[in-house]
């Protein structure tokens, strides 16, 4: 798909889609939903945004944006600044390095890639958060959250794919 020239408002709007959708996922992830146990095991929606956009449009999800989204999420959840930012930075670096194995492949491979990223990101967050808080935090809810994150991924990926086709256009066949 061809990209329109830089400078028009429409073009700018298209370029911010990855950032905006991922920030939207940050908000969505922290809505107060009235389901028992939901808060603790809520899926890591923004991680899906980061993963998706780094695979399909790394040019529109640069590492500085990933870092800023992480800092924003840290502010929102009351975590020490830098915790989520660091996790997203590492995710960005890893996914970017493995991108060639994921682009243009069937969906299950793309999903499997996420099934590797999500547990590593979750475990790392758990380790760093435990270290920062000086206590071993409950791990069962983290495991449940990782499971839910992997299961929910196709739904979120579908919405992101819609937004990508509709607004951004793909640089690579997806």
């Amino acid at each position: 798909m061809n990209q329109p020239g830089i400078g028009t408002f429409g073009d700018l709007a298209r370029r911010v889609v990855p950032g905006v959708t991922t920030v939207f996922l940050v908000f969505l992830a922290h809505l107060h939903l009235p389901f028992p146990y939901y808060t603790e095991i809520a899926p890591a929606l923004p991680l899906m945004g980061v993963y998706y956009w780094v695979v399909f449009r790394p040019d529109l999800m640069p590492r500085i944006l990933v870092f800023a989204i992480g800092l924003f999420q840290d502010a929102l959840i009351g975590a020490p600044f830098g915790l989520t930012a660091m996790i997203y930075l590492l995710t960005h670096a890893f996914v970017l390095s493995q991108r060639r194995f994921l682009v243009g492949k069937p969906f299950w491979i793309f999903w499997s890639g996420f099934a590797i990223v999500a547990p590593v990101a979750g475990a790392l967050t758990w380790i760093i958060a435990s270290a920062l808080r000086g206590a071993v935090l409950p791990s069962d809810v983290v495991l449940a959250s990782i499971g839910l994150t992997i299961v929910v991924f196709p739904v979120v990926a579908w919405f992101l794919l819609r937004s990508q086709r509709w607004l951004v256009g793909a640089t690579e066949p997806s």
Binding site: H30, H32, P34, T39, A79, M86, R133, L137, P138
Partner: protein
């Protein structure tokens, strides 16, 4: 020929330089994140202010986004009520009878209390002033147990104030923005609430442990507490009024005693922030009507 070679070598150099540049940027950001994390751990004022500023900025967005959730909750409740209306009616009728009996008992006790207080020249406690606010975000997942509410400094919310629901204790205010505040839940690792086990009168501390069931700590080893005992606030420390329900003991073994909070934190949609006892919490007298106004505004309109 020479020219061509030169341009090729420049092009050949550009790629590794770019790669090194990117690696350098990655390492700089990673180091920055790490440094921020350590600084945040030290609870520096600037970072805390930055967080409050960001949360305050997006509070209206969170407030709007939480509306459909509440509406959905309301609809599901209505549908459920529709199907159980008969049974519910019967239950309410019985409860009403029971409550009428309680009301009579309470009236008798009220009169008796008033008489006794008059005889003792008792100085009455000041009733805490309350602000009601909506829960606009549930933050932290398994790592940090906190909530964001849509009331802040402009509604006289202050750091350290107690947060309760109609059922009992929720937590306390940890950070205050102008129009939003963060509630540290009683289940968070940093939460400590002075309490009393109602049946035995033992003074304990309800200690958050980031699970759904906070621990009861500092209990005398030979204390005869058992599962089902109610734990209420003791009022020590001056943050919570005495006698507010915290939970009931759900597990009591030699190694650990935990309680089931009375408040269902997952379903909490509104919370009350109490001005109680802590010095400087009460607004100056001339501003008192504004608090009441804020209370109704946040409770209904916002």
């Amino acid at each position: 020929m020479v020219k061509r070679n030169a341009s090729m070598s420049v092009a050949g150099l550009a790629v590794p330089v770019r790669i090194w540049g990117q690696r350098f940027a990655f390492l700089v950001l990673l180091t920055f994140a790490f440094a921020l994390m350590l600084l945040s751990k030290a609870e520096t004022g600037a970072l805390q202010n930055a967080r409050i500023f960001i949360v305050d900025g997006v509070a209206p967005i969170l407030s709007v986004m939480s509306r459909p959730v509440e509406a959905g909750q309301e609809v599901s409740r209505s549908v459920r009520n529709f199907f159980v209306v008969h049974a519910e009616n019967e239950r309410l009728r019985q409860e009403n009878e029971r409550l009428i009996r309680w009301m009579q008992a309470a009236r008798q006790l009220e009169v008796e209390n008033a008489t006794l207080r008059a005889q003792l020249e008792y100085v009455p406690e000041m009733a805490p002033r309350a602000v009601t606010a909506r829960v606009i975000a549930d933050t932290g997942g398994g790592f940090f147990h906190s909530l964001l509410i849509n009331a802040g400094a402009r509604h006289f919310v202050q750091r350290g104030q107690a947060v309760v629901s109609h059922a009992g204790v929720v937590g306390r205010i940890a950070e205050v923005g102008d129009r939003s505040a963060r509630v540290l839940l009683m289940t968070d690792l940093n939460s400590r609430i002075p309490a009393i086990v109602e049946s035995t009168g033992d003074r304990v501390i309800v200690t958050g442990n980031n699970s759904r069931w906070p621990a009861v700590t500092y209990l005398a080893t030979n204390s005869p507490v058992s599962v089902g005992d109610r734990v209420v606030t003791s009022g020590d420390g001056g943050v919570f009024p005495p006698g507010l329900p915290i939970g009931t003991i759900s597990e009591a073994s030699e190694t650990r005693i935990v309680l089931q909070p009375v408040v269902d934190l997952a379903r909490l949609s509104e919370a009350r922030i109490l001005d109680y006892g802590v010095e400087g919490i009460l607004p100056p007298p001339e501003k008192v009507p504004a608090v009441d106004k804020a209370a109704t505004a946040t409770g209904t309109a916002k």
